[in-house]
């Protein structure tokens, strides 16, 4: 909540305008009712000349027009303010998720996270539009209108103030208590429903084959039923709120009249003024009407706010140093005595490894041996518990993350492509890259032929997560993207996992060609093309089991030789 309030406060002029306009609009309504009451009452006294009524007539017209105009402008200003706040908030959420990825995001469902980004943020619009501005406007209206009534008659002012406070404070607070609990329960149910729906859609294939689609529909239906029950309770609250608000609004003129009547009878108050007084009082209640509904939504909004702030508060696993050092010319990456673990014990321990420009190295090992984690340490998505990662002899913790990553072209295991053209996906790596370079990279990734055959060529759109491409095509596109990046070190995490043997061999041969301007680190469990590699590091359960050339390792008994033998039984290796 504090975050949202802070964002609102970042637009003081707009907030002030919204509040001022809202108050002025309600007061124009009060003015309209009071002047028209005065007009009628004065006319009933049959004044000698109609001119005596002209001030009131003008007042009626003025307040009528002003009210309509003020309302239009007020609504535009306050909605604009809300949308601006929402946008900032959205950006804030994205910016705080970013440094958490990929290692700090564990434990959250992406569907739920998306819910946070879109739904919660939208929910929070009630804070500005329906809570803060109306509260401030209501205070202004209360002070002004009660002051006006008090100027005419004090007892009437007291009853008006009391009823305004009941409608504006007591009622909303009561409903907030009820609505808050309800809102939290509803938010929980909605989050669950979102997850189930996500499963039902993402796992549609399994559900279809196992005939479990109906069961999932029943689950969704059960959640809907629970939400519908909450909705019925909510409807009851809404109805009660409406009744109470209408009653207070209509009873207030009655009470003011009853309070002022003795004064008028006793001659302390001009009886004529009873009419504008009674009519005007009802108008002031327009200011407190939105408060009850606004606060009733408090539960939902505060829950959304809590969840957002949970994300905002999370500590990123790594941060840039306050005074980053310049990137050294020598782009040699080195791990020294590195140890790293997640929650369940160490994943890597005692790792020493260097990669210099012009070198080709491979890290091999069975799945779960820590290969991917090692790459993530090199890209500094996390820092080792002990030991150091350095670039050109400088600890990567002294460098800007972006500067470090600019030296690395990485193909991560989980390929992420974007719903955009092939060209746009490739240019992520280098926005200025010309088509010729893109084609060269596609050629190196053995994808040029396929892309050329697509009707729109480089302009072909990739589906969500590239899911309209085959696994192999996706992977080759990711590879091409890394090759477009002008970085001296190429880090590949299982780059050929989805490829058939022909493609794999051709691609690896090309990637592992000795090149003086590029260092290549290949992380893989597939022992293909490794004869071309200068040094192979064999990981087993997070420790270095063996290191040496392919020839040496293949000859000696050990993990590597075991993997080699198992692999000979592969169609595509």
């Amino acid at each position: 909540m504090r975050t949202v309030m802070g964002l609102l406060a970042a637009h003081p002029a707009r907030l002030g305008a919204a509040v001022g306009l809202a108050a002025a609009m309600v007061l124009a309504g009060v003015g309209l009712l009071a002047t028209s009451g005065y007009l009628i009452a004065r006319a009933a006294q049959h004044p000698d000349t109609v001119l005596a009524l002209m001030v009131a007539v003008t007042g009626v017209r003025f307040f009528g027009l002003a009210r309509a105009a003020l309302r239009y402008v007020e609504r535009l200003v306050s909605h604009d303010l809300t949308l601006r706040v929402l946008q900032r908030l959205r950006r804030l959420v994205y910016a705080s998720l970013l440094p958490l990825a990929p290692l700090g995001l564990g434990g959250d469902r992406s569907a739920d996270l998306m819910g946070r980004l879109v739904e919660d943020v939208d929910e929070l619009q009630t804070v500005g539009l329906r809570m803060l501005a109306p509260v401030l406007a209501a205070v202004i209206v209360m002070v002004v209108s009660v002051g006006l009534v008090a100027w005419l008659d004090v007892p009437a002012a007291i009853t008006t103030l009391v009823l305004l406070l009941v409608a504006g404070v007591a009622l909303p607070l009561t409903l907030r208590g009820l609505g808050g609990t309800l809102g939290r329960r509803e938010a929980r149910l909605r989050a669950t429903r979102r997850i189930v729906l996500h499963d039902a859609i993402q796992g549609a294939q399994e559900l279809w084959v196992f005939g479990r689609g109906a069961a999932f529909r029943r689950r969704l239906d059960g959640l809907d039923a629970a939400l519908a029950r909450l909705g019925a309770v909510q409807a009851k609250l809404d109805g009660a709120r409406e009744s109470a608000t209408v009653f207070l609004t209509l009873a207030a003129p009655w009470a003011a009249l009853v309070a002022a009547l003795p004064q008028a009878s006793a001659g302390g108050l001009e009886p004529l003024l009873l009419v504008p007084l009674t009519l005007g009082v009802a108008g002031a209640f327009e200011a407190v009407q939105p408060l009850a509904e606004g606060l009733q939504r408090w539960g939902r909004a505060s829950r959304a706010g809590e969840r957002l702030e949970q994300v905002l508060r999370r500590e990123p696993p790594v941060a840039d140093p306050p005074r980053p050092r310049a990137v050294p010319h020598d782009a040699t990456l080195a791990l020294r005595g590195v140890r790293f673990g997640y929650r369940h014990g160490p994943v890597l321990d005692g790792i020493d490894l260097t990669l210099a420009v012009g070198e080709r190295r491979a890290v091999v090992g069975p799945s779960g041996s820590g290969k991917t984690t090692l790459l993530r340490l090199l890209a500094r998505f996390a820092d080792p518990e002990t030991g150091t990662v350095s670039l050109g002899g400088r600890d990567v913790r002294t460098l800007r993350q972006q500067d470090l990553r600019a030296q690395l072209a990485v193909v991560p295991q989980r390929v992420a492509l974007f719903h955009a053209s092939v060209r746009a996906n490739l240019r992520m790596a280098d926005p200025g890259a010309e088509d010729a370079r893109l084609w060269r990279a596609l050629q190196d990734a053995e994808l040029a032929e396929a892309v050329a055959s697509w009707p729109a060529g480089l302009d072909t759109l990739i589906g969500e997560f590239g899911n309209r491409l085959s696994g192999g095509e996706r992977q080759r596109l990711a590879l091409a993207r890394a090759l477009v990046k002008p970085a001296p070190l190429l880090l590949l995490d299982e780059p050929t996992a989805h490829l058939d043997a022909d493609n794999e061999r051709r691609i690896l041969d090309r990637l592992l060609e000795a090149r003086p301007d590029r260092g290549v680190l290949l992380v893989t469990h597939r022992l293909v093309g490794l004869a071309a590699v200068d040094e192979i590091v064999v990981l087993d359960a997070g420790r270095i089991a063996q290191r040496g050339s392919h020839a040496e390792l293949a000859a000696a008994p050990g993990t590597y030789r075991g993997m080699l033998l198992a692999q000979q039984g592969r169609l595509d290796g």
């Binding site: 309209l32 009628i40 006319a43 049959h46 009524l53 009528g64 009210r67 309302r71 239009y72 949308l83 946008q87 998720l97 970013l98 990825a101 990929p102 959250d108 992406s110 998306m114 879109v118 499963d199 859609i201 399994e206 559900l207 279809w208 084959v209 999932f216 019925a232 409807a235 809404d238 109805g239 709120r241 409406e242 009744s243 209408v246 009653f247 009655w254 009878s265 009886p271 009873l274 009674t278 069975p366 799945s367 779960g368 998505f381 991560p412 719903h419 032929e449 055959s453 009707p455 759109l461 589906g463 997560f465 309209r468 491409l469 990046k485 299982e494 022909d502 039984g569 169609l571 595509d572």
Partner: protein, 639 residues
């Protein structure tokens, strides 16, 4: 979300003849429904369950009409106090009556809001249920073709936005037909001139609303699309944050998100500017009408042409006359948003006759219905037969293509799967391997040709009984939110713990499951543990055992396996082959070597079949695939 083998749904390899529109971009959206049709559809739904909506309209109308006695009594009280010097005591009865009317009115209005809320609950619930049936009752290829983020947004938020239309807008529209007329008639009787002012200005309001409303309709639609895009983009970004950071593109993507957000803000403001304009016109008319009545009765009152209580009653009633319209205007924005959302929703929902057909066919494309109709006797037979080692499945000259694609994915495929044996499908990616797999699980439909199980024709896409006999092992099985146990029981919900453990053992999954922090109770899915590819794969194999499937379609995992895991998977697959007909989309030499039969596919057609030694000896496509051909053909030149 990808197909069984990660093979493309509509992959663009080959023929440049594919029209540009069907490139691997977004699938064609179902045509949206016109606003008028959406409104009619909504009203049909409201009418189907009329109790709450009628109660809402009646209560709100009663509340509106109570303004008449309220104004009359209040005018009389003020008349007594102001012109006749009456005191509190002498007017106690009138004051009590006024309070009573006010209370009744408050209760009516509250009851109207409550009934409206209930009415909305009924309709949204029905819509959601229909939507669930439609989205999840369809063959999954329908879902794959669409952006998942957008689907979620539409299904959940879209329905939520329909609620206020039913709760507020529809009852209020009914009130607008009754209350102003009642008040105007009363005013006409009381003071004809004022009645005429109301009757003249009143109809202008709906006219204005309609004029401005139809203008804003398209804009509301645009705003809705912007929200969908925002949601999809958010999903893209979250799944890809690592990639964005690796390429140092986080700022650019943030800018892109900003752009979409800004577009959303602009679109929303556009809608609001017009929506509020109609509100402004309405307010202005109401204010001017009230002012005209006030000035008119005031001037006549001054010259003695009208009595004070009559004048005051008319003045008090003037705003009440406009109130229903103003309220309708206040709900109008929500109404437009709701109709916009409904238009998108209805595009997913079948019209009546189609719904009936869909319920029967589980949303299978029309081609299969024809075929199914031609072989009506086939279904009961497949139900009855339960072969001990699985059925003998044969495909005869099967042609198939993906919806919206011109090029067939399969061109006359004929092959046979022997019971209790492993048949391997091999070929380059895009050769049609996963299309054969999809054909068998029923997510792709044959256009031509037939599929026989033990000689009896089956249409997998149509027959739930057929699917009850089979299991699918995708390369990357989806992990559902829930425990390992729940994920396994997906294949057979009634399975006992012992049966689950036995299946896991057969699949060589038991050991790693026991090592998980919570064993079989470990939560999976994105909220819980993630599993490696090899582990997921073995979970899916365990499901096949647990199901006791007769036919298993297995998309062999092509990556991520260490020697020990690989050996474990091999043992599990061998066991699977002993008790069922097993079709493997193969990536491993070891697998094909053990296969009873190998089918080599290329460009959607069978180019070779036989066993490993025989095919290798021929030195054809299979040998080339293995890289054992005497001379591999040179790869085609890059353009």
């Amino acid at each position: 979300m990808t197909s069984a083998t990660g093979e493309p749904v509509g992959e663009p390899v080959g023929e440049p003849a594919t029209p540009p529109g069907t490139a691997p971009s977004e699938a064609p959206r179902p045509a949206t429904v016109s606003p008028g049709a959406a409104r009619r559809a909504l009203l049909t739904r409201v009418r189907r369950r009329p109790a709450w909506p009628l109660a809402a309209a009646a209560a709100l109308a009663a509340g509106g009409l109570l303004a008449i006695p309220q104004a009359t009594v209040l005018a009389r009280v003020l008349d007594g106090a102001f012109l006749h010097g009456r005191t509190l005591q002498t007017m106690a009865g009138a004051l009590a009556a006024l309070l009573l009317v006010v209370t009744l009115r408050a209760l009516s209005e509250g009851a109207g809001v409550y009934a409206g809320g209930r009415a909305a609950g009924v309709v949204t619930r029905e819509l959601r249920a229909e939507l669930g049936e439609r989205l999840l009752g369809r063959e999954p290829s329908y879902l794959e073709a669409r952006r998942t983020g957008r689907l979620g947004t539409e299904a959940i938020e879209g329905v939520d936005r329909v609620g206020p239309v039913v709760a507020r807008f529809v009852p209020q529209a009914a009130v607008c037909a009754v209350v102003p007329a009642g008040i105007a008639l009363y005013a006409l009787w009381l003071d004809p001139l004022s009645g005429i002012i109301l009757l003249v200005t009143g109809p202008l309001i709906p006219l204005f609303l309609w004029l401005l409303g139809s203008l804003a309709e398209e804009r509301a639609q645009r705003q809705w699309r912007a929200l969908g895009l925002l949601s999809a983009q958010a999903l893209d970004a979250l799944q890809a944050l690592e990639t964005l950071r690796l390429f140092g593109r986080e700022r650019e993507h943030e800018t892109a998100l900003d752009r979409v957000g800004e577009r959303y803000r602009r679109a929303t403001l556009d809608v609001l500017r017009v929506a509020f304009l109609s509100g402004f016109a309405l307010e202005l008319l109401a204010m001017l009408g009230t002012a005209m009545v006030a000035v008119s009765v005031g001037l006549r009152l001054a010259t003695g042409g009208i009595a004070f209580p009559v004048a005051l009653t008319t003045l008090l009633l003037a705003p009440e006359f406009y109130l229903p319209f103003r309220r309708l205007g206040a709900h109008h924005h929500a109404g437009m948003e709701g109709v916009a959302a409904l238009r998108e929703l209805l595009a997913h929902l079948p019209s009546r006759p189609e719904a009936a057909a869909a319920a029967q066919s589980w949303g299978v494309p029309p081609a299969s219905r024809v075929e199914a109709a031609a072989a009506p006797a086939a279904q009961p037979a497949t139900l009855a037969a339960r072969s001990p080692r699985g059925p003998r499945v044969s495909l005869h000259d099967v042609w198939a293509r993906y919806p919206g694609q011109d090029r067939p994915a399969l061109r006359g495929v004929s092959l046979e799967l022997a019971p209790g044996a492993l048949t391997a499908l091999v070929g380059h990616s895009g050769a049609g391997k996963s299309s054969v797999a999809r054909l068998l699980v029923g997510t792709l439909d044959a256009e031509r040709g037939s599929i026989l199980a033990d000689g009896v024709p089956v249409v997998p896409a149509r027959s739930e009984a057929w699917r009850a006999r089979l299991a699918l092992v995708p390369q990357q099985p989806h992990l559902f939110a829930g425990s390992v146990l729940a994920n396994l029981r997906l294949a057979r919900p009634a399975a006992t713990m012992a049966e689950v453990v036995a299946a896991a053992r057969l699949a060589e999954a038991d050991a790693f499951i026991e090592r998980l922090p919570g064993g079989y109770a470990t939560p999976l899915g994105e909220d819980g543990m993630d599993l490696s590819g090899g582990e997921r794969h073995r979970l899916a194999i365990a499901r096949a055992f647990l199901r006791g499937a007769e036919l298993v379609v297995l998309d062999e995992i092509s990556a991520y396996l260490d020697a020990a895991t690989e050996a474990a998977v091999t043992r599990a697959v061998t066991r699977l082959a002993q008790r069922s007909t097993l079709l493997v989309v193969a990536h491993r030499l070891e697998t094909v070597r053990r296969a009873r039969h190998i089918v080599v596919l290329d460009e959607g057609a069978v180019v070779e079949q036989g066993d490993h030694d025989g095919l290798l000896a021929r030195g054809g496509a299979y040998a080339r695939l293995l890289g054992r051909a005497p001379q591999a053909p040179s790869p085609a030149e890059v353009p």
